[in-house]
Symmetry: D2
Subunit: 388 residues, 4 copies
Amino acid sequence: MSDRFDAIVAELAKQKIELPSWAFGNSGTRFKVFGTPGTPRSVEEKIADAATVHRYTGLAPAVALHIPWDTVDDYSALRDYAAEQGVALGTVNSNTFQDDTYKFGSLTHSDPDVRQQAIDHHFRCIDVMNATGSRDLKIWLADGTNYPGQGDIRSRQDWLHESLQTIYDRLGDDQRMVLEYKFFEPAFYHTDVPDWGTSYAQVSALGDKAMVCLDTGHHAPGTNIEFIVAQLLRLGKLGSFDFNSRFYADDDLIVGAADPFQLFRILVEVVRGGGYANPDVAFMLDQCHNVEDKIPGQIRSVLNVQEMTTRALLLDREALTRAQHEHDVLGANEIFMDAFYTDVRGDLAEWRESRGLPANPMAAYAASGHQQRIENERVGGTQAGWGA
Amino acid sequence: MSDRFDAIVAELAKQKIELPSWAFGNSGTRFKVFGTPGTPRSVEEKIADAATVHRYTGLAPAVALHIPWDTVDDYSALRDYAAEQGVALGTVNSNTFQDDTYKFGSLTHSDPDVRQQAIDHHFRCIDVMNATGSRDLKIWLADGTNYPGQGDIRSRQDWLHESLQTIYDRLGDDQRMVLEYKFFEPAFYHTDVPDWGTSYAQVSALGDKAMVCLDTGHHAPGTNIEFIVAQLLRLGKLGSFDFNSRFYADDDLIVGAADPFQLFRILVEVVRGGGYANPDVAFMLDQCHNVEDKIPGQIRSVLNVQEMTTRALLLDREALTRAQHEHDVLGANEIFMDAFYTDVRGDLAEWRESRGLPANPMAAYAASGHQQRIENERVGGTQAGWGA
Amino acid sequence: MSDRFDAIVAELAKQKIELPSWAFGNSGTRFKVFGTPGTPRSVEEKIADAATVHRYTGLAPAVALHIPWDTVDDYSALRDYAAEQGVALGTVNSNTFQDDTYKFGSLTHSDPDVRQQAIDHHFRCIDVMNATGSRDLKIWLADGTNYPGQGDIRSRQDWLHESLQTIYDRLGDDQRMVLEYKFFEPAFYHTDVPDWGTSYAQVSALGDKAMVCLDTGHHAPGTNIEFIVAQLLRLGKLGSFDFNSRFYADDDLIVGAADPFQLFRILVEVVRGGGYANPDVAFMLDQCHNVEDKIPGQIRSVLNVQEMTTRALLLDREALTRAQHEHDVLGANEIFMDAFYTDVRGDLAEWRESRGLPANPMAAYAASGHQQRIENERVGGTQAGWGA
Amino acid sequence: MSDRFDAIVAELAKQKIELPSWAFGNSGTRFKVFGTPGTPRSVEEKIADAATVHRYTGLAPAVALHIPWDTVDDYSALRDYAAEQGVALGTVNSNTFQDDTYKFGSLTHSDPDVRQQAIDHHFRCIDVMNATGSRDLKIWLADGTNYPGQGDIRSRQDWLHESLQTIYDRLGDDQRMVLEYKFFEPAFYHTDVPDWGTSYAQVSALGDKAMVCLDTGHHAPGTNIEFIVAQLLRLGKLGSFDFNSRFYADDDLIVGAADPFQLFRILVEVVRGGGYANPDVAFMLDQCHNVEDKIPGQIRSVLNVQEMTTRALLLDREALTRAQHEHDVLGANEIFMDAFYTDVRGDLAEWRESRGLPANPMAAYAASGHQQRIENERVGGTQAGWGA
């Protein structure tokens, strides 16, 4: 291992990335959802798959739940099951976009009864959190409108505040709410929480336990995401990341797949702003594996985050600051790029082995026969997907 | 009726817009498809709905089919049924994106057997055309890849040519192929026919019976669509339009809903380039009605096209040309905007009545009780949607 | 005049739009600035041109200054001169992007001396405001970097806060600061105030006299600007508009030229949120007339705002709210579009005449011979432009 | 040197990148052009700077001229001067955007006299080519309009064809025309050659000596550029590259600076499609150095192309094709990314030394004192820029 690498090993060991249970189910587009052999039929099988990812990488000690997709009768039992598998239950994600009631909104609906129904759903999510010991309630809203005039943008923002406040007030002392924003989809004219500014304004009005969730795929074309990271860390309001990547819209591709240099820049600002290995800033994946295998897709994803974090940690910040102060544009950029272009894969492989992990988790998983085993075992039943 | 309006009435009377059968079925996003009462359960009910739109507007004398969604045993019988309803069967749309075989491509698949299967599907579509008397075979391909390296962009383009050539050679003398392009979705890294240039290059290599289909929602942000219209008309390769509108991606909103001025500019170039009331340039809708009612949604859509066509026809081209030659930027723009800002709704209402149509088709439909009737009648069965 | 129009006449009469002095100078792109006959050679001539626009439209009683472009020795004299012409001096715009010192930033520069120099410039602007009686200090910063690593995004944000606080503290009781944001240009990697969220966070940290300035051309592709308008009005932080329009980047075209429906939606939210005829929300133009004549370009611009405001005021909000609450998507949209599609030009012409203004200000200006007069008179000297 | 690297050394040695003379002059934005010490005051000094880049890198044996910026009395003498410096004169770039005549267009202008003037300028460029021995005439047009209605899109396209044909007919047997397209700027509504489709359609109508020039910064947001590369190579119409990079619009940043992975993907398709070391496909830079030093900016640029070409050459295409045919999405992507993530800098340094070049050209240039020398020597005169 190189000296530079040695110096950051302690930091690297702190990395934890939460996996989304739904990444192991089938997903697709409005045109088609392709099924794949071995896909989980139950929450337990999703958790088992998440645990498999952790076993091969040492990076993914928790799995996020999506309610009602991951509804069970006994959450303590689920927690115990997860613990046996070697993972914890993490963030609870609410879902107010698949019930017919929510066709025209949930927490922002003009009808107070519908808003209350959506609030009640969040209360149930908090109940789940109490049972699972989860800290974070993540709210992503599909709310919005498709046609100018369809809804009253302004009133919906006020209703949103009331709804969030009611939910916020139910949070326990050690619980948090993270509010995710998204540029568009499924609403095609206006979205009620479309940008970081809106999420920031809304959570600031609630209190310290409300934070912004930044999904790396939820921005307008050309948006400088690392700037938002730096700004939210500065404002003390970056609660969590949903990592994934995109070329076009909310493509939900494997994190780092579309623009690895962007992922690097984001992680540089995370480190710069004190967001790394900081319990207040949760690292999560939120991805779809429409055409690739899911377990190795998740392994690849956490490795991508780890490799890029390594590069970000390797950045020679002292030299960079010096070059920045001298306005040595090319020099500063070269120092920056040097970290990005450093091939960290060999050092990471060595380091993994030193910790009892496979040097190459992708190869180890492929060689393990695990995929074939679950494909053979998981026959019958209904494969998990976004609808179930 | 104003004199200006009088002068274009003869042109207006020539307008024909084909409706997509699938617009009457349920549609939505990957997050949720909301069902609605009164949705057709069969091809016949879809055709009946299209005929209803035509009855109220006089604008929509044909309905396009989607194979296999609209597969029936006896297409002659279907043709007769449509004729009884007052509409013709129009363009046949192929579908090679919902069979598991096509997960990694159809006409561009690396496996020649899969390509042949997709070609065979198009042969069946031509058989349908022969039975229905349809002229146009419309090909939109979902083919593409999600990750860099996943497929060989270059070979896929060659395979696409071979596949298209084979299909083209099966076309009858009076039949055409129109090749639709789309910027992205469902593929998220590369799409095999992503832009007009590709569609143009591919159809040019085939022959005179192959043309480009321009879907107004399938472009990169900021693209000047009317320029493409002008260019394709100039090159003699604009075969058809798929009208709809978008704020973000392929939103498939009601045509004219997102940017009415853009629709105006497009129609101005259509008229300018000889594409209006030109049998070689088919006008079609391709939309989704995710949250609004479908029949009135389609009525609204054809009215939007009609209203904007009226404005485009009202453009004082002589004065415009003069101002353009004088480089009177503000003057030329004002002449252009004058046509756009002219409120044509009153004149159109009067004209409709003069032709035995309701002055206000939207209001007439709402007052007719038709919607309630189909909601009451269409109970049971499986509502049509993109999957069936 | 129609009854609907009659009902809004009182509101219409309240409209005031501030003109930018620099719109009367030459402007262009990095490729070329074309000069035009009749262009002002002095601040006084720019003010005279602004007064001409007001004389023809009754809409533009104030003109904004840009320092140092509009630097004079005696601002009281300038104020008197403007008053004689019939206009007031309005917003003072600072300029910290044309001095060599600011190559790497101004209020965000890593060197405290440069920051102080930029702060001092703003102090001088406040001195100008004291002399002219202007209320608003508008700050648009060109600050940013071109290459990843070039600057420290996070520190620059802190320095920005310090600089703004120092300037803010110098404001008089009746003075305000408005902070403009811009997506990109002239910086091409990161911009220090790139979005409304950043401007909002920065001004919120200062106090009640600091507000956000929304330039309609400064957003990422696809951004829903009317949403931001609604949000900032709701948060009580919308201080002013810079109106213009764009197809691509910061095109600075005539307001309403690129997407008139967007301008309508923006004005609907302005009215909805109490931002119309509200002294806290200043309406300004910020445009370039690269190829069109400047005085008629400005006349066209204020007329565009007036026409679209008329349509926004005509919106039948009661009916709209009813349709919204009934989730009548198509009905609500039709009410919305009805206001947009109403041709208000005839009523406005009549109304103008009733107020002693030309029915058609564009035609009246063209017929007046004024343009030829200034082209003949303004010979010699140096034409005003962005550099002087 | 690694074995993998050894295997591609022969290919690497073939790389040639043409430098633009204007990159050594001052450049900026419409807001400000910052001057820098040491900037050339003459064509000869620009050529000397280009030769310096070549001396340090061995990559840049030719320099492109821009007419009239690089107009001289005696082109043979200039050719000899360049040869003495160690470089050849390359592509001749025409300029029809800085003369007042061209305010409303050049080759597409509605006035045949203006078109002839622009054609004559191109004839003069061909004269220059005859004197310099240049092969390629590169045409980039600023032509377009700012407002809908301002010009007649369709006629302009026809005029463009006529103009190009006239120029084309003047080309010598060994000369070529390359037609560059650009999404927007300086025109803000429509651009006459906005996309590859238009350039392709236009050059195809001319003949074999007309080709498309692809500038990597001239596309709509999200455009898959490597697809266009693959397509144009397939169609035999990719004549040259203008390399640079962008985050937003036509930022003209150092190639590879904004999205190194995109540059990699482009070069992979170049290699895949036979465009590498192919005399028919010219590699050129077209960049601005607004804030960074120009000579090291160009050194950095050619090194970026070299490093990324190395990675593209290292791609294990055999393994990739196998994985592609097996539809092993993750496996194929990993093979692809492996080449990208390989740190080639050490091998390249060693290889450079083996060829008598500095191992680290950036460091060598910085240590040489050359920059200080030209800063001291080049005092007085008028620094070169886009205007001169």
